[in-house]
Amino acid sequence: MVTREQVEVVVARIRPFIQNDGGDIELVDVSGNRATVRMSGNCVGCPSASMTLYMGLEQALRDEVPGFEELVVV
């Protein structure tokens, strides 16, 4: 089981950067082996940015949180 704290540690690493750009990332839910985040701000809608942030975050979570499977962006 993945805990909220484990996911939060990874999310917190990029949050300052996103906030500095006038956006935010919020951890909505962690259940089972998946986490749901909500992103807001300037980068929403940019295909490059969604790719980087979504894939980067999911990869980082898989690398660092044992058993982590899926990231959902709402």
């Binding site: 990029i14 950067f17 750009d21 300037n42 940019c46 295909p47 894939m55 980067g56 990869q59």
Partner: protein, 324 residues
Amino acid sequence: MRAVFDYVRVVADSDSSILITGETGTGKELIANLIHQASHRRHKPFVPVSCAIFAETLIESELFGHERGAFTGAIKDRPGRFEMAEGGTIFLDDVDDVPLSVQVKLLRVLQNRVIERVGGTRALPVDVRAITGTKRDLKQLVADGKFREDLYYRLNVIPITLPPLRERREDIPLLAETFLKRFFQRRDQPPRPLSPGVLQAFMRYPWPGNVRELENACERIAQTCTCDTVKIGCVPVSVLFHRNTEGAEPVIETHAHPSSVSLEDRLRDVEQGLITWALRVSGGNKSKAAELLQIKRSTLGDRIKKLGLPDSGSDDSGRPASAE
């Protein structure tokens, strides 16, 4: 880095060997080329050779050339890199990868200024200045018996050491700006500024691949950015999600021994640690450091003064801080 450039001007025109030591991506070849361009040999060839890309047996033929029939596949005479560089400069990069057997020959060439092609009998005189590059500490390799001491002294007449990017973070914004301008220009697009978030991520990342890695990151950004400012979403994943230890906030360790603790002293230590950290990751820029610490710029100034920290930081406007 400015000291390196000044030094290059001083040593460029001599014919002495130069040994450039620096991590991968710090610009060894660039400096070697700069030395060549600033020397009287600038109208003659500059020949860079990486000694790491060749199989052991090939290095010799690559450097000194070979005669027809010297070995299987040697179907015609071929001049070596030393001959190609005649009158100019040869840059032997990754010289630490040259096998011991070839090191002897290299030493002979540098000492006698004469080369002998593989399979050849004639001694050809060469007039070439040798600059060598290494990412490892050659002196240590000598101590370990992996590099010939006599060759080391022959190469290391004038040593130049290039600092890794993480030790000159203050240059990151300027370098990034320069690279982005170049890469956007290649796409016929005007340069775009970096957002504060991107700059923060760049300043914190340790850049193990140094300037080359920064250059590649900027190239990627120029290819993917779709908006008018480079924002955090365009930064490569490896930079963004790096678990950095060096640029991280200092850990506040808990007091282990049970004797009495001075709260004032402890708070002072913590404050000093955090301010030093903020100044370091912001490259000495106090406005940015204050932002990181979520305090006002003036408050930061007061605290630095109160703590008696060395006042070497700068303002955005470039005024000396003591003038306020």
